[in-house]
Every structure is written in structure tokens, then in C-alpha cells.
Symmetry: C2
């Protein structure tokens, strides 16, 4: 039995943060119904990289909303809200990431929802928390990376601040939301009552940096400098980083500089014996290492370094990873293409339960695909409650 079997989740959310939280609940066995406006639905349907679209929805939408159903309702129409409320009575979890205040205006704020279902766990993602001067700013990922210090600490000293090319804040707040929701469901078995879980892009992306922010604060508020050469970390000493070789790249993790000096035959490395100089002189050390690494191939260096158990690795692109036996042995790919449409290949849930991986091929629903079925199944009625 999948862990969350029997759980009903209503996903009012759009784009990535909220929908990715609902996706994980679906991965783990919950039934997830997207509640979407009849005109266009989730704006994420139109979020497209490289014009990749299938059956009018972007590939991104397909990956984020696989294994869900779609129920359309016009939340500005009281009759539709009434129907949605009938569904809310049956639900275990509600997820939304509208701008603050919207759900209240629609009559679907937590206080209202709790009145009709005290067992529901209500999960909200905001951009910047519940108050403060940024609370009305758009919750957009690049802005969050830029405002939180993350872009500033990434890259090398002479680079611009460098954002990470992933939706870090969205993804991270989505998984925090899942943690909060599941915790409240645990509590519900003891108290019989649900709860409200709130996360924000800002708090989540700050949490991602918790070790570093703590280091900065407890180091007497001293801002670190990014390394000039092959930067990989603001706080770790040489040789930590990625280097070129004669034919490709190599990543060198932390380890004994003395050992490295022997294997690479760089006697000068023995001049940097203490932690302090390994950190403060990291750029000159890295330049010495870089020069030597250029004289042989990645495979040869890795062979030599493995002999002395020095932690290092090749640097792969997606093609190389995906074709590697280490990836194929994980059996991570699933096809969630809609029946009658193109294949949509994506990765499965990364969590293994009781030795099993979950590889549902249920596609992302077309807009409103399941409305009628759900109306019947739950006996929902338009105007039925008024």
C-alpha cells in the first residue's frame, strides 16, 4: 500500500511551488484534484521552454501535474464556490499559492474552510511571508535568489552575482509545504483536527542557506569573498572546485593537500600545510593545481587519485548522466504522455518506500478532464446546497 492511499488533496495552486507539493503527495499515493478556472486553468499550462507543448499544455505542466485530475470551477461564481465547498468537505488537504488575501476574498480562506471541514490541512505558499515590506512583491524565483543572498554567493569573485538556473525558491518551498502538511496530518490522528501550514519562497530560500548564514553571523558578521579561481564554495579551502584537464573537467572535493601534491607531483603544495593558508591562499593553490591538471586526461587523473582514495569525480552533462549505467540502474524515467498524444518522459518520485519505487504513468489532466466524473462520484450538485 502506498503511504498516502485514501487521501484526497485539492490543489488550487498554479505554476510550480504549490503544484510541486501536490505532486509529491500524489507520488506517495494521494488522490490529487486540481481545481482550475474554466478559462485557461492553471497558468502553468502556458509555461513553456523551447516551445515544447503537447495537447495545448507545456511539457513543464505535464511533468509537474502528472498523476493528478482536473476539476473546473469558476471561483468568482458563488454557485461554483458552493460546489467546491461540497468537495472541500471530503478533502484531507487543500493547497493554494494565490497572492495573499485572494482565497479569503473568494470565501475560501482557512477560517471559512475550517468551518465546513475542521479536519482539513490547509497549505499556503506565499512569496515573502505573512507581513513585512516585501509582502506584495511578485514571488518570482530569480528575484528571490537575488534578494536572499544566494545569487551574491554563487560564482567566482570577478563574476556578476550568479543565480542558479533552477527554480530554487519554488521547489524548496514546495517541499517544505509537504513536510508541514504531513506533520499536521500526523497530529490529526491524535487531535481529530487539521491545521494551517504556511511557507514562503523567502523563508525557504533562506533556510536553504542556513549553514552559511549562521557562519556569516557567528563569524562576527564578516562577509566572505568568493574565490577568484574555480570557485565552488565561499567557505571551503583549496582545492575544492572544478578544474579543466587535458580533455575535459575534473571535480576535486576536500582532502589532504599533501596527498594531492604527491599524486599530481606538485612539491610546492607542501608549502600550504595549515587550514588558514589553504583558505586564504586558495587562489594561488588552485592555479598551481589547475596548471598541472591540464597536462593529463580526466580518466588518468581519476585513476591515480582513486588509488589514494582522494575524493574526485568527472563532470557530466545530462546526456552523459542519462546514458550512464549508474543512472539506468536507478530506473528513474517514466512516460506520462496523454493517451493519443506524444510521449512525455520525466523522472519518477525520488523516494523509495519498502524497497519499491513508484512509477505511475498517469498523465497530467487536460483542463476539466475529470469534472463530470468527480461531480458524480462525490454526488456534488450545482445549487444543491442553497
Amino acid at each position: 500500500m502506498k503511504p498516502l492511499e485514501g487521501m484526497l488533496v485539492l490543489d488550487f495552486a498554479q505554476y510550480l511551488a504549490g503544484p510541486s507539493a501536490a505532486l509529491r503527495l500524489a507520488d506517495l499515493g494521494a488522490r490529487v484534484v486540481k481545481i482550475e478556472r474554466p478559462q485557461g486553468g492553471d497558468n502553468g499550462r502556458r509555461l513553456v521552454f523551447k516551445n515544447l507543448v503537447s495537447d495545448n499544455d507545456g511539457v513543464l505542466f505535464h511533468t509537474i501535474n502528472r498523476n493528478k485530475e482536473s476539476f473546473t470551477a469558476d471561483l468568482k461564481n458563488p454557485e461554483d464556490v458552493e460546489v467546491v465547498k461540497q468537495l472541500i468537505k471530503k478533502a484531507d488537504v487543500l493547497i493554494e499559492n494565490f497572492r495573499p488575501g485572494i482565497m479569503d476574498k473568494l470565501g475560501l480562506g482557512y477560517d471559512e474552510v475550517k468551518k465546513i471541514n475542521k479536519r482539513i490541512v490547509y497549505g499556503t505558499v506565499s512569496g515573502y511571508g505573512v507581513d513585512g515590506p516585501w509582502v506584495k512583491r511578485p514571488g518570482q524565483d530569480l528575484m528571490l535568489q537575488s534578494l536572499s543572498g544566494l545569487a551574491w554567493m554563487t560564482g567566482s569573485q570577478d563574476d556578476l552575482p550568479l543565480p542558479i538556473a533552477l527554480a530554487m525558491a519554488d521547489t524548496y518551498s514546495g517541499i517544505h509545504l509537504v513536510q508541514g502538511i504531513l506533520s499536521c496530518l500526523y497530529r490529526r490522528f491524535k487531535t481529530g483536527e487539521g491545521g494551517k501550514v504556511e511557507v514562503s519562497l523567502l523563508e525557504s530560500i533562506l533556510d536553504l542557506q542556513f549553514e552559511f548564514i549562521a557562519t556569516y553571523i557567528n563569524d562576527n558578521y564578516t562577509l566572505p569573498k568568493r574565490a577568484k579561481v574555480n570557485n565552488a564554495h565561499v567557505y571551503l579551502p583549496a582545492p575544492y572546485g572544478i578544474y579543466t584537464t587535458k580533455d575535459s573537467y575534473i571535480a576535486l572535493a576536500m582532502g589532504s593537500l599533501a596527498t594531492l601534491g604527491e599524486v599530481l607531483q606538485i612539491p610546492e603544495l607542501s608549502n600550504y600545510n595549515d587550514d588558514k593558508s589553504r583558505f586564504e591562499k586558495r587562489d594561488e593553490i588552485k592555479l598551481l593545481i589547475q596548471e598541472k591538471l591540464n597536462t593529463d586526461t580526466t580518466a588518468n587523473w581519476i585513476k591515480k587519485l582513486k588509488e589514494v582514495n582522494y575524493w574526485c569525480s568527472e563532470v557530466l552533462n545530462w546526456k552523459e548522466v542519462i546514458n550512464h549505467p549508474a543512472f539506468t540502474s536507478l530506473d528513474m524515467l517514466i512516460n506520462v504522455g496523454r493517451p493519443g498524444h506524444r510521449d512525455i518522459i520525466t523522472t519518477r518520485c525520488p523516494i523509495r518506500v519498502d524497497g519499491e519505487t513508484y512509477k505511475s504513468n498517469k498523465w497530467a489532466p487536460a483542463l476539466g478532464e475529470d469534472t463530470e466524473k468527480i461531480m458524480k462520484e462525490y454526488g456534488l450538485k450545482k445549487g444543491g446546497q442553497n
Copy 2:
């Protein structure tokens, strides 16, 4: 009531991935006991940035292990293992991230543990999953970023592959572990039985890239190129990225290039009207924008762009974020210094429950600090069971 109150978690894990999962459970109300070897305990105690140490443990250890207790046991000594098994009988959750096979050798593998407590949820973090050719490689974060494609896709086209200066794989697998554990606890209320949850650094860091890997695969396995100029994303068109201004930096998110051209007074931007040229000619577009942005200050540009609702932001370092009212209003900092020792300031749990934030000041335990208390409290006896 905190959601996980009454839950007992045994944290056998070391360093970051496993301990950060246990930390989140502690944040949300669980009682977490670290099981540590008497000689030195968790190796994470000696993981130090910038020589920041308090009471013989690194500041990182303090932040990752706050709000836990420490119980020492020599797992190579059968008498101690027997005592630990008495504690396992009382526990809801066990977390470990030893190399594969170690817990089995110690007689504490899942099959063994299940025999003495069928209700336990047993969580494991490995480096590379349960099999495959990499299964014995060290699970070190830089290696995972390098092997998974993440380093390759970060940075600009003429840079080396660029790792992110955070322990991405560790952090991410830790939160996936929490999701799996809480799901199995939900199921336990229905079945009366626990379960085994396995995550790996590799699967988690691939999952982090799921939208991108899906785009790559469904784009007929065409590898994207990083932008040459101000890169922020392999798949998004201009102007997405961070730029310099006359006095600082500015981040420009996606938005109308026409609007941007009007505000910045760059008539040439109207030559790039379609998605295709905005992506394929992103570097030349970005150069035009960069040149103009250098002529005025960040504050002035932001003022002008806000007037037309163009999504943009300043780029802050940690000092600027932490001193900003938007941060102080979040009330995120807690002091987890040990009694009689220096302050250790770190950020609280990012999840808000029922409108509350949890700000426990319980410090990270000294090695074995709670052994005696726990022995008495649970009536554990050395040699008592044999």
C-alpha cells in the same frame, strides 16, 4: 500542540543529510536522540568553516543538531547494541546514513529492527541508490553536483562547469527523507506497521533538476547551451538574468521586451519580437540591455520598472538581507548557544503552523550529554536483556 509532539526519533546519522532530516522532525515537535559513538561521536562535530567552534564542536554542528539530545553507545560492542535495541523498541523513527551495509553488520539493519519494533519507520540516505556501478563511491556533495549535470548547467558559457556553493545534494535528500518518513507514519495509523524509506543523494539531485531533464529529453535529447552573457538560465530567453548598473546590480526576470525597451529607451529591442529570437539572440539582446543599465543606478531603474510592473529586484548580500525590514519582520533568528558558552545564532524552521513559528532555543547536545537521563527515563539496562 506542535504537530510531531510525542514522537521519538533515533538519529544514527552523521554530517548533514541524515541529521538535517532529524532536525526538521525536531523543529516540528519530535524528540530526537542522536546515537553517537563514545569516541568523538558524529563526525559532523569536526566539520568547521572558518575555525568557528564552540565547546569543541563546530558551529555547523550546532546549527544542524540543535534541539536534539545525545546518547552514546559503542555499536561494535554487543552489550551496547543491546541497550540501543531497548531504545529502538520505544522509537517511532530511526534515521541513518552510514555506507550501505554497515547497519546490517551492526545487527541494526531494517529487517533486524523490524523484528523488535514493527511500528518503526526506518529512514536511510545513501549516496547513489541501492545498486549500480557508483554505489560504493563516496557520497560527497561536489561530486554529486558534478556527476548529475547540475554543475555543467550552472554559470555562463565560457565559464567552467560551476557547482553551487551549498550542499545541495545533502540538503535535498534530507528533506526527501522527511517526506517519506512522515508519509509512512501516516500509513502506520491505518496499518499499524512502519516501513522503510530510502533516498539517495543522486536521485534527489536529479529530482531537483526534473523540469530541466524532462525538457532535455523531450526536446529530442538536445543539450542546451549556457548563455554567454549574464547567464541565469539555460532555457529562458533574454532578458532573464543579473546585470550591473551604475552603482550596483539588478535582476531582471521574464517580462515584455517591448515594455523593457520603452523604459530603458532601447529602440533596438523592438527588433526581437518573437520567442525564438529572444532565446537564440539572447546574448546580443542582453549586451544592449547591459550597456544601458550601466548609465543609471539600481534604485532609479527599479523605480522606473516598478511603474510598469516589470518584475525586477536589487541583488543583496547576506548583510543587506539580514538588516532589511523584510527579514527582521520574519523573526527568523534563534540563539542555540550551549549554556555557559558563546551564542550560536541560526535561522528557525521555515514552516509556520497554525500561524506560529517554532523558535526552540534548545542547544545541540555535547557528546553523550543525555545518556544517563535517557537510560533512567526509559529504564534501559546494560546486560539487562541477556
